[in-house]
Structures are given as structure tokens and as C-alpha cells.
């Protein structure tokens, strides 16, 4: 293998035009250089793409196991739905034929009604599906960024981030930080660095809003549970509150999940919570029972409200992770501030009551 050179020899060329080098000059044509790189030289580097892909996916542990085990269940569900649909169609056809036979007008009326109804149903399902897809794009984006982060690539980050930016560029409050991100992302930055910067400068704004949603719902749930006298009303309210919050969080991150999407997200969040482990749950419990001076002062019912609020908060944080188009690269938002906010809220409520 002596003759085969594995490296490219150095080259020196003359430049015709000589633009000055400076910060402003370097910052202007930023994405072009980056995206060009990707097909040219990245190809010569051999990297274990599959392995990294797998790693990225396994990081999505909660959802991955969910789909793995849910495969059979989903299949069964599909079969059941198909059966049900075919039965309904058959029923409808029989019914309509009967009507046609009994009277022309009656047949016409019911046929029209059926058509309108099924049209409505189809658009509803279609919308739900589209929204579900949109939710999927968030997951896909996140999986791609896992790959980019772990592989330390060069040149894939800009196109990926442009796709992420599409989700937010219409929001008024995001225009400034997107602008500042583009201005600050120098063309020497590797993909990991770019993603870090984006996470820090752009997504942090979105995170803050999502976090507010979580805090709002958690404290509302805490107060309401503490007030309501009826257990079953509490439970119903609790479920509804969860769904509502999950949906709002997904919207903040740029998806508009329908009912199905919200349910899936909620399921995912609960699974994630279970996945986070009993220890974690216990830890919260212990911390709760030990450090919670406010709750100790309040009545038992308020204590229960607090733990309900914390539960909702945990669901919310899980949902944030499941909806964020990039993974949290520094510290993921935690319960600590929420606990404080909750205690403040409950404390306020208490003092206002008095």
C-alpha cells in the first residue's frame, strides 16, 4: 500500500479579489460555506453513522421502548379499527339500501347525510393526522441533532437549525433572538457548537415560555385541588388539566397536537416519569416531607394539593423534553423553582384566605 496516498497534498493558489478580513466580513455569508462542506469533504471521513444513529435513538429511551412494545398493541388496535370501520360501512350500506327501497326521497336524504357526516369525519381525522405528523417532526429533528452532537460533524448544523427556525420564525418575540443568533454564529463553529448556541440563545426563550406554562398549570392544580371538596371532581379536573397543559406546551414548541397527539404525549410523559425511576419519585417525596416548611404549616389538604401540583409539574417537564426540537444540552429545567413557585402560590393563597 505504499503507492496509495491517503492524504491530499497541500495546494497554494492566488486570489484575484482581496476582500478584507474582519468580523463583519466573516459573519455575512455564513451559511453558504458551511452547507457546501457537507457533500465534499465529510464524505472522505469514514464515520460509523449507524452506530451513532442507534445511540441517538437509544437516548430517546422512553419513546423507543414505547414503540417497541406498543408494536403488537398498535397492530391489534389497527385490526380492531379496520373491523369496526368495515362493519359500520356494511351497516350503513344496508341501511341506505333499505331507505332507497322504501322511498326515493328518504334514500336521497340519508345518502346525503351520510356523505356529509363521513366527509366531516374524514377532515377531522385528516387534521388530527397532520397535527400528529407535525409533532413527529419535532422528534425527528431531535433525533437528528443527537446524531450531529455525538458525531461532532461539520456543516450539517446550519441546515438542521434552519429547519428548526422555521417552527418559530413567525413569532414576533423570536425575531430578535433568531437575528442575534445568525449574527453571532461565526462560520468556524462546528455543528455541536452551533446547536449549543442555538439552544442557548433561541430555544431558551421558548423554554422559558413552556416553563411558565408548567408553573401556571401546576400551581392552578395545586390550589384547585386544595379547594375542591369532591374527590371525583378532583380526579377529573386533574386529568383534564394534564391534557390541557401537554397541549399548550407542545404548542409553545411549535406543534399543534390534536387530541390524539396530546394523549400520546401524555402517555409518553407518564412513561418517561416511570422510566425516570422510583428513586426519583421517592426522592421528591422525601424532599417534600422533609424540606417543606410551608406545607407543614398548612393543612393536610393543601399538602395534597402541593403534591398534585408537583406531579403535574413533572409531567410538564417530561413533555418539554419530548417536544423540544433539540435535546437539552446543559441542565434541563428542574423541579426546584417550581417547588418554590408552588409554595409561594399556596402560601399566598393561605395568607389571602386569612
Amino acid at each position: 500500500m505504499d503507492g496509495a496516498r491517503t492524504w491530499i497534498p497541500p495546494v497554494e493558489l492566488a486570489v484575484t479579489a482581496s476582500p478584507k478580513v474582519g468580523r463583519s466580513a466573516a459573519a455575512a455569508p455564513r451559511p453558504v460555506v458551511l452547507s457546501l462542506e457537507q457533500d465534499g469533504e465529510a464524505a472522505s471521513r469514514v464515520e460509523p453513522v449507524e452506530a451513532v444513529m442507534a445511540a441517538g435513538e437509544s437516548a430517546e429511551s422512553a419513546s423507543a421502548t414505547a414503540t417497541g412494545r406498543g408494536g403488537v398493541l398498535t397492530g391489534l388496535l389497527l385490526v380492531a379499527i379496520l373491523l369496526w370501520v368495515s362493519l359500520t360501512v356494511q351497516d350503513a350500506v344496508l341501511f341506505l339500501r333499505q331507505q332507497w327501497q322504501s322511498h326515493l326521497l328518504l334514500g336521497l336524504f340519508f345518502t346525503l347525510l351520510t356523505l356529509v357526516l363521513s366527509g366531516l369525519l374524514l377532515t377531522l381525522v385528516g387534521r388530527e393526522w397532520r397535527r400528529f405528523r407535525r409533532l413527529r417532526t419535532l422528534t425527528v429533528l431531535r433525533q437528528e441533532s443527537y446524531r450531529v452532537i455525538s458525531q461532532q460533524t461539520f456543516g450539517l448544523g446550519q441546515p438542521l437549525l434552519r429547519r428548526v427556525a422555521l417552527l418559530y420564525q413567525e413569532r414576533e418575540e423570536m425575531v430578535a433572538c433568531l437575528e442575534s443568533f445568525y449574527q453571532q454564529s461565526d462560520d468556524y463553529l462546528g455543528d455541536r457548537e452551533l446547536l449549543l448556541l442555538f439552544s442557548d440563545q433561541v430555544l431558551s426563550v421558548v423554554d422559558a415560555r413552556a416553563y411558565q406554562v408548567v408553573v401556571r398549570h401546576a400551581s392552578a392544580a395545586a390550589v384547585m385541588t386544595a379547594i375542591s371538596p369532591m374527590a371525583w371532581l378532583d380526579a377529573l379536573f386533574f386529568l383534564w388539566r394534564n391534557l390541557w397543559m401537554v397541549r399548550e406546551i407542545a404548542e409553545v414548541y411549535g406543534a399543534r397536537p390534536g387530541a390524539a397527539g396530546s394523549l400520546v404525549l401524555l402517555r409518553q410523559a407518564i412513561r418517561g416519569m416511570m422510566g425516570a425511576g422510583l428513586t426519583d419519585l421517592l426522592a421528591t417525596g422525601v424532599a417534600h416531607s422533609m424540606g417543606d416548611s410551608v406545607a407543614a404549616l398548612l393543612m393536610a389538604k393543601t399538602g395534597q394539593g402541593l403534591s398534585n401540583g408537583l406531579f403535574i409539574a413533572r409531567i410538564g417537564l417530561q413533555t418539554m423534553q419530548a417536544c423540544r426540537p433539540l435535546p437539552f444540552m446543559g441542565e434541563a429545567p428542574g423541579l426546584a423553582q417550581i417547588r418554590k413557585a408552588l409554595q409561594r402560590e399556596l402560601g399566598n393563597g393561605k395568607s389571602q384566605e386569612r
Partner: protein, 475 residues
């Protein structure tokens, strides 16, 4: 708040008392960090510190330091150069170094060979709750110290006797290129009258030895040269402390009190105590954070022998940061250093898509010592950066391949060129792959700023270095 109208004097008194209290607390909370910058000669220490100070003095939210959290989150409240704390240390002349860099036709600062320091005061808004209630802005005093990495090469001498050390040096002179370079000096030693020391002869011997070291450094770019001050003498030039050299083992009879050997041995010991030990005691032990600058590209382009010499030198330098278990050294080297940053400098000599490989290569080289330091609780990071960026990356088609070129003005010319300097390998190439023309890294002229008054110097990853080194102190 309290209504002060009826008791105006009392209120004023209270207010002023509160003010002094705040000031006092303020003072108590202000901190000092001593940041030491080292590296072998021409590794880019002076330019690095100059650029760092320049960035800190010009930092604004949009001044191009997005990874330096204190600035990007707008908590930075200005900084300025202060009086330096030590009266017996030369000043780092920021004003003299920045001036040529920001001219219309910029040039690099001159060489330095002394320890020097500069103090900056940085005002910032703390994030902590306690701080925010007490005072609005805190001040961090940042002392930056520049010293030649060659000095750290002397550390192993502390553990050796004169005879042992001499034996080591003669051993290393068995190999090329030291063998040829040291011939003249060794011939002189052979013909020297050893029993009775003669001042002129001593000076001649040590002069030839110094010349040998200088030739190793300048002609072959070797780094592992002891004693370190012989090549970087600073203010000690010409003193008896630097007028000695290793001697071959000679019989008992020629080691009398007046002999060459005993005088040389005496000076060797004095060097150990007055120069090496002093440096560790007066300076090294006071450092809080350390940056080691490494010009990997130069070492890469000079081929395998040079590279491995640099590597050994580097290992020897890095031993300073994982003070072993040996009694004397561990006592000496009980610095407070809690963060250690290894930097591959001048990364703008290669295109942006090569930075990661350069960092990986650096990682491989410092892996072992870095691990040892981590084990002792030091936070370690490696990074590829450029203090002052002189080029930009341009992708061009060449011979049917898309190549990433760097575009800039090479040193000594006045026209820009496009250079593809070769690709950085992820790991060290084997000696037979290390062809003489595999790499062609060039030095560049500093960038011509469009508006030298207003613009900050372009850099690569200086903000990330700042964040690692100072982020926690400015939170």
C-alpha cells in the same frame, strides 16, 4: 422604606452607615483570580493575552463573545486595566502589544522572554440571590501572568544531583541531531584543565553549551532543552547563575575544592535553588488557573522527530500539574490550580472543518497528564483556538475535489493567497506516512481591520476559553 423627613440627620447617618456596610461587604466579596499563561517559545502567549485583554476591554453583548455567558447575558459591566499587584515583576505591556496589531498595516508584537503580569478589574452583575440584594455589581480582579514554558522544563532538575543530571544530558547527546550540534562543546570539555578552575574557561564552556542549546532550538526547533533559562535568560543573562554546564563523570582526584567540577556543581545547585525553586515558590504556587498553549501545527509540519521531542517536552511540562507523591515536589507543587486549559493555538492556519481533528489530536497528546490532573481534582479542558484570526475558510473546487482553503496574507508578502495546507489527521501519522510535503502550514499577517478604532479583533473560540476560565468567577 423609612420616612426620613422628621429625622433627616439620623436618616442620613443611617444611610451613610448602610453605604459603608455595603461597600465593605462589596470589598469582602470581590475576588482575585491569577491566570497563568504559558507555552514554549513562539507558541502565541503574548498574542493570546493581548487578544484576551482586548476582548475584555471591548466586550459588549454583540461584540462577538456569544459563549462568554457573563457578556452574552448582559451582566458584564465593563473592565479596565489596573495597577499591577507585584512591584518586582515586569509589566505586561498591553498598550505596546495591541498597538501594532490594530494599525492600518498591522504587525505582530515582538518576542518576550520574561515573566510579566497585568491586572484587569472586571465589573459584573452577579446572578446569585445573596449578591443581588447586597450590591449591584461586583468586581473581579484578574491577574494574567505570562511566563515561558521552558522554565517548567527545569522541574525534573530539582530531583537530580549534578552528577545525575550531567549523565542524563550526555546520554541525550548520543542521538542526532544533538550529537553533531554538541561536538564543539564536548571537544572543549575533553581538552579542558579540570583541576584548577579558570573563569574565562568556565565562561567559554558554558557559552558553547548555551550555543548548542540555542542551535537545537533555532535550527531544529527542539524543545526539551535544560536548563530552561539558558535559552530564555530574561534578566539573568550573563550572571554566574547561568554560567555552568554539565560535566562528564571524572575521577575523585579532579573534584577538589577549586576544581571546575566543584564550581560547576555549586552553580548548578545555586541555579536549582535561586532560580527554579524561587520560581515555584514566588509564582507557580500562587496561580489559580493555568493555560498551556501548544503550537501543534508547527510541530506537525516539522516531522516525526521534532514532534516526538515536543511531546516529551510537553509531558515534562505537564508533570508540573499533576504533582506526584514525591515529598519535595508535592510540597512545592501544591498550587491552588483548579482549572487547566490545553490550547492548540493558531487554529486559523487551517480551515474550519479541520478544527475538530486538531482538537482530537491535542486530546490524544495530553490524554495521560490530563487524566492525572483530573484525578487530583483539577478541571481540564482542551480546545483549538486562535487569538487573532488572520484567515477565512473558502471552499473551492480543485483537481476535481472540493477543498477547504484558508484565505489570508502570508507573513512577509502583501497579497492574499488561497492555501490548502493539508488535512489534519485524527491521530498521529506513522513515520512513513509523514512525508515532507504532507503539510504546508504558513504563518499569516494579522488581519487588516476595516475600522481599527471601533472593531474588535476577530478570534476563534476565545469566548469559550474565557467561559471555561472565568465563567464560574463571574456568575
Amino acid at each position: 422604606m423609612t420616612d426620613t423627613t422628621p429625622f433627616a440627620p439620623l436618616g442620613m447617618l443611617l444611610a451613610s452607615a448602610q453605604k459603608t456596610l455595603t461597600e465593605w461587604l462589596h470589598l469582602a466579596m470581590d475576588q482575585t483570580v491569577r491566570l497563568a499563561v504559558t507555552g514554549l517559545n513562539q507558541s502565541g502567549k503574548t498574542v493570546f493575552i493581548t487578544a484576551l485583554v482586548h476582548q475584555l476591554l471591548h466586550a459588549r453583548q454583540d461584540s462577538g463573545l456569544p459563549f462568554f455567558e457573563c457578556v452574552s447575558s448582559n451582566r458584564f459591566a465593563g473592565s479596565r486595566v489596573m495597577m499591577q499587584p507585584d512591584v518586582d515583576v515586569s509589566a505586561f505591556r498591553y498598550d505596546q502589544f495591541i498597538q501594532p496589531l490594530t494599525q492600518q498595516r498591522p504587525s505582530w508584537p515582538t518576542r518576550t522572554d520574561e515573566l510579566s503580569e497585568i491586572r484587569l478589574a472586571i465589573r459584573f452583575q452577579p446572578t446569585g440571590l445573596i449578591h443581588r440584594q447586597l450590591s449591584d455589581a461586583s468586581t473581579l480582579y484578574l491577574d494574567i501572568i505570562d511566563y515561558p514554558g521552558e522554565w517548567l522544563l527545569d522541574l525534573p532538575m530539582l530531583e537530580l544531583s549534578y552528577a545525575e543530571w550531567s549523565a542524563q544530558i550526555f546520554q541525550s547527546c548520543m542521538e542526532e541531531p544533538r550529537r553533531t550540534l554538541s561536538t564543539e562543546w564536548r571537544t572543549l570539555l575533553q581538552s579542558m584543565e579540570m583541576r584548577k578552575a579558570d573563569d574565562a574557561l568556565l565562561r567559554q564552556a558554558s557559552g558553547l553549551y548555551t550555543q548548542f542549546l540555542m542551535r537545537c532550538k533555532l535550527e531544529y526547533g527542539l524543545s526539551l532543552l535544560q536548563p530552561g533559562r539558558f535559552t530564555v535568560p530574561g534578566e539573568l543573562k550573563g550572571t554566574p547563575l547561568l554560567t555552568f554546564c554539565p560535566l562528564p563523570d571524572c575521577g575523585e582526584e579532579s573534584r577538589g575544592p577549586e576544581s571546575v567540577y566543584s564550581i560547576m556543581e555549586e552553580r548548578f545547585n545555586a541555579y536549582k535553588e535561586r532560580v527554579v525553586y524561587r520560581f515555584y515558590k514566588d509564582h507557580f504556587s500562587r496561580f489559580d488557573r493555568q493555560i498551556v498553549l501548544i503550537d501543534l501545527l508547527k510541530a506537525l509540519s516539522k516531522g516525526p522527530e521534532n514532534f516526538s521531542d515536543m511531546r516529551v517536552a510537553l509531558e515534562s511540562i505537564l508533570r508540573n500539574f499533576h504533582y506526584g507523591t514525591s515529598g519535595l515536589l508535592s510540597r512545592l507543587l501544591w498550587p491552588k490550580i483548579d482549572k487547566l486549559l490545553f490550547v492548540a493555538t493558531k487554529v486559523d492556519h487551517v480551515a474550519a472543518n479541520q478544527h475538530h481533528n486538531l482538537e482530537r489530536l491535542l486530546n490524544r497528546i495530553v490524554n495521560k497528564p490530563a487524566n492525572d490532573a483530573i484525578f487530583q481534582g483539577v478541571e481540564v479542558k482542551t480546545m483549538a483556538l486562535s487569538s487573532v484570526t488572520c484567515t477565512r475558510t473558502v471552499v473551492r473546487e480543485h483537481d476535481g475535489r472540493r477543498l477547504s482553503f484558508v484565505q489570508g496574507i502570508p507573513k512577509g508578502r502583501n497579497k492574499e493567497i488561497l492555501l490548502f495546507p493539508g488535512e489534519i489527521p485524527e491521530s498521529l501519522p506513522r513515520a512513513e506516512d509523514w512525508d515532507a510535503n504532507r503539510f504546508n502550514f504558513m504563518e499569516f499577517e494579522p488581519p487588516r481591520l476595516i475600522d481599527p478604532e471601533a472593531a474588535t479583533l476577530p478570534h476563534i473560540r476565545l469566548d469559550q476559553a474565557l467561559q471555561f476560565l472565568l465563567g464560574d468567577k463571574l456568575s
